[in-house]
Symmetry: C2
Subunit: 373 residues, 2 copies
DNA sequence: GGAAGTTTCGTTAACGTTTACGGTTCCGGA
DNA sequence: TCCGGAACCGTAAACGTTAACGAAACTTCC
């Protein structure tokens, strides 16, 4: 058990060639004939060669530059995602990661330009939130062709050649929301509503489907209404909900899958049915806290932004370090926050990643409102 | 931004001494006078020296031996914990971890002997489940004195000098169970029971307290009974529950915090009140699945054994690698499993950590029934 | 006062990889 | 024939740390 791992020298010796040639062959650098290259590759495989990352890093002293393209926000989902990324970067033993944040001020504004900027500056990897997957697909493809791996967070960009995706499992989210809704309503009849960002986004459609089918399967006396699309716009959410409440006097519950839960609550209050409505929301932000505490929101599905950030960086770093991905798809289980355990989550959010280690990860901020002038 | 980090040579040069002396001083190896040692330490601090782990590992080629002392079990909590540890060990870039499993067949049997064995063989670190903290306290103290860091999983061993503890947050668990129980019972009156392993174990007492106080705070019409102690023994759980059901005909729900939920369900069935009882359990194992599917168990609090294992190994490895701990206490948020999202968790349990990378982590099994003959 | 031992410290060869540079060959063109 | 330049390959010096080997200087003891 445990003979010493094979090194470049081993390969060279058993081939009667030199370390330099082996190295060039393995990295397909120029200056090696196709014949010897094939022999080297063959021998490396048969000896089970795996590079020693410590030696590699020590020798080259290259740092991996990673661009993180997300939305602006304070004490919000994306701040937490970034914190998770920072934490994970700080916990990398080989301190060879450098993070560049490219933050967009508003949904869909300048996302493509930011991504192009990252590609142009030849970063080694990209973590991105593709709020509108279609508009970014071609840029992500371009990154892949430039051999820059791209990891999506929260929303997937299908058929774009991205390396992987980290998100909360939509099925688990929608189903648990449905199951809770059914239990909370406890045999009542009536209709149940659900708001989504937009049904064209796969994730949101899936959440709806999961919610709908779970409710149908276990609570047949509840009826799921056509989804309300709010596009994360407060006014749109409010307006559509007021309309919804008027049209469906038998409404018993509503599941808000977007961050626009405040206007929904406001609409319910203004329609005077806040206490008759079972409300399940998504995520956890300061404005929502009092509503959970008061019981107006019975539960919220927390999408664990910090964990998403951590996993995204991990996936990217593993790929960059080892050249092979272990998984392309990380589906996190959402957390359930209610009155009882609310404080636990608030406490943990406020713990700002007690960084005793000093600034081991070099960071750069790119304010895109300037960059794109 | 980002001048090159200071090295041993830097320290040596600015002190007019040699690299060897600096090294000896920083590791308090023998052969360096107290005076120069002080100077070196001083200079290292003022230059902000931080060792280059890549170089260290490359040079010494030492592997860290970690003993994992847990309970036996197949498709059980502890199997998942071990899987988590393995996964995390495999994802360490410097492949310098070697894991030795010392598995005890039964609760409390041979735990101390296994721990002593690990200490005797001078492992570099220990992950342990102290099922009976008091009986292990002195052994853990001995390990700490031998400079072997010990990380506890699932149950803490207080005042033992252990490096840290990884567990599910007891407050979050008890509170969410109470909150769900209250919502599910939806205004009903009656009493609610809770079973624990033993109130002497801090974690279990805390879960009870959290359950009790949350229920009192939000659902005052429910009354929490005195906790049932089952010591994870099937017969004891069954017997005590039958008695409980007889004595409290108004029992509306029960929260099982141990793994002994099957006998509780059996007792409820035999007492013919399975369908009148709201049952919330703990963890997720094959025998429990049909009961969740049938609705007999409305929800189970999943303690995320895999995540516990991962975090434990991470904590230990970070300490061994860097000599400083970032956190001593990791409190995980439990997951909530219901009918709706059950399949998601089962699928993820069965994914056996698709290991493409081959056996990079050398493992050793220590069957203690042999070792202790 | 010198042999023998101790304490303190400097030197150097690893570890496995990257990278720059210096050699070979071999071929076409003068 | 000789030169210029590819194309291919070997060599050796880094990278920062560890660990082993000695070389001093200083003690102790006969």
């Amino acid at each position: 058990m445990g003979q010493p791992p094979t090194t470049l020298r081993d390969i060279a010796k058993s081939l009667g060639t030199s370390i330099g040639t082996v190295h060039r062959a393995l990295h397909d650098n120029p200056g090696v004939s196709p014949a010897t290259k094939a022999k080297v590759l063959q021998m490396a495989r048969s000896l089970g060669y795996r590079p020693n990352l410590a030696a590699r890093y020590l020798s080259s002293r290259k740092t991996l530059r990673i661009s993180v393209n997300t939305l602006q926000g304070t004490t919000s989902f994306w701040d937490e995602v970034r914190t998770g990324i920072r934490e994970e970067a700080a916990s990398i033993l080989l301190e060879n990661v450098e993070i560049e944040f490219r933050t967009c001020a508003r949904l869909g504004e300048g996302e493509e330009a930011a991504l192009e900027a990252a590609i142009r500056e030849k970063v080694d990897g990209i973590i991105i939130f593709p709020s509108r997957p279609e508009t970014l697909r071609s840029s992500i493809k371009r990154a892949s062709r430039a051999r820059i791996p791209v990891v999506c967070v929260a929303t997937d960009a299908a058929n774009s050649g991205r390396l992987g995706i980290v998100a909360v499992d939509t099925l688990a989210s929608g189903s648990i929301a449905a199951d809770l809704m059914g239990r909370f309503l406890n045999g009542k009849n009536g209709s149940v509503a659900i708001t989504v960002f937009e049904m064209a986004i796969t994730e949101h459609a899936e959440k709806y489907t999961a919610f709908d089918s779970t409710l149908k399967a276990f609570y047949p006396n509840l009826r799921v209404l056509k989804p309300v699309e709010d596009h994360d716009l407060e006014k749109e959410a409010y307006r559509k909900c007021r309309k919804l409440f008027e049209e469906h006097p038998d409404l018993a519950g509503i599941y808000v899958t977007t961050e626009a839960s405040i206007p929904v609550l406001q609409a319910a209050r203004d329609a005077d049915l806040l206490d008759r409505l079972t409300v399940i929301t998504t995520d956890l932000f300061p404005d929502l806290v009092p509503h959970i505490r008061s019981g107006a929101v019975v539960a919220t599905i927390y999408q664990r932004p910090r964990a998403q950030g951590q996993m995204a960086l991990r996936m990217l770093h593993e790929f960059l370090a080892e050249g092979a991905r272990r998984s392309h798809q990380v589906s996190l289980a959402p957390h359930l926050v209610m009155r009882g355990n609310l404080d636990f989550f608030l406490r943990r959010q406020s713990e700002e990643s007690s960084r005793e280690r000093g600034p081991v990860v070099r960071e750069a901020m790119h304010d895109l409102t300037e960059d794109l002038a």
